[in-house]
Symmetry: C2
DNA sequence: ACAGCTATACCGGCTGGACGGTATACATTT
DNA sequence: AAATGTATACCGTCCAGCCGGTATAGCTGT
């Protein structure tokens, strides 16, 4: 009794895996089909073109991000700075139980593939990004400090995209603590 | 009276332009040759394979970065925090006269192409990166703050890779001023 | 001072393989 | 039997790399 879109997910996972192991130029329909345990015809049934496949990858990434942010914000009792904190957790937090860093990998592969093939595939992602950026800047403390916090979080996940050597556990913890202090220490509005 | 490696440069520039305009998957030898005004044979004379071409792109990026860092450091009279300041200027500074943001674009295209084709092409870049990271952490103030400054600078140039909406001129200036304060305000060593 | 030789720089056609996409047949469920 | 999902065979195009050339400049012995 497999869910009806089970194959779709398998294909998207396969596409991600292929990008990660063989690079964006190694993302061929045949490889994805093989990796997903599906024939090429089956693949093309679900994603009628390569571009559609890429769009599917991006869409899933966005949906993941969106729902995760919403969850975190809802769970944060303190109103001031929740967007910022949610953003930090989402972007820079170390691996968590539940969905380890599969999401991170999916994001990585989707971004790489999209940039390699056609920049415009990222447009929907950029929109979401801009949106949360606005929330962040509005929702807490000094906007310059908020921006700096956001940028640090960005750097952490962006550099992971290129496997640029990340910080030591220790340093990462220290930095995160520092950010946490900034995003919670001072309130917005009347001082 | 053209320098003897003039064609090489033309080819590298062409490769960069092709990646920028047609994406990493559009980086074909024929296109590069056409863009460079060279025949395919001529291209393959200078770069005997596509991978060699990519290595050439990366190497030039590294050389650019290296020499620019050295220059900036040499020109900075104040010893404390020079690496950090040089890094900020190099990574996050707005366009300058002389070499506008051609370097930035070359970096962008090289990274995109390398990641799309084979991650390991970035290894030499990662080494340099790690090296300067060490310098930065050693050369100034509190290492956590130094790291945060570095990460912000990273975010600024990394996000430009994906054309993720950058900050407004105004906000960017404010952030840079803030970083400048951190990297110059407090001395290392005896307080 | 020039014939012969070699190295450097560049040219453009060719090929074998891979890739995206189509067509169509087969299977399973409703 | 219609709809949905999967499989196989195939087509046209594109591409990386190869190869046989050309042109020019520099060297070398005579």
């Amino acid at each position: 009794m497999k869910g009806k879109t089970d194959t779709r997910k398998k294909i998207l996972d396969a596409a991600s895996a292929v990008v990660l192991s063989r690079g964006a130029t190694g993302l061929t329909l045949d490889q994805v089909a093989k990796e997903a345990g599906v024939s090429k015809g089956g693949l093309l049934y679900h994603f009628p073109s390569k571009e559609a496949l890429l769009r599917g990858m991006i869409e899933r990434v966005i949906a993941d991000f969106e729902s995760s942010m919403v969850d975190r914000i809802a769970q944060d009792p303190e109103e001031n700075g929740r967007y910022l904190r949610a953003y930090i957790s989402e972007a820079a937090a170390p691996p968590e139980p539940g969905s380890p860093q599969e999401r991170r990998k999916r994001l990585q592969s989707a971004l790489i593939a999209a940039v390699a093939v056609d920049n415009r595939l990222l447009d929907p992602l950029r929109e979401r990004y801009k949106l949360y950026q606005e929330f962040v800047e509005k929702d807490v403390i000094d906007s310059v400090e908020a921006t700096i916090v956001r940028l640090v979080a960005d750097a952490m996940w962006l550099s992971s995209l290129f496997d640029i050597p990340t910080l030591t556990e220790e340093m990462q913890t220290k930095v995160l603590n520092h950010l946490e202090k900034i995003s919670s220490g001072r309130r917005k509005g009347k001082p």
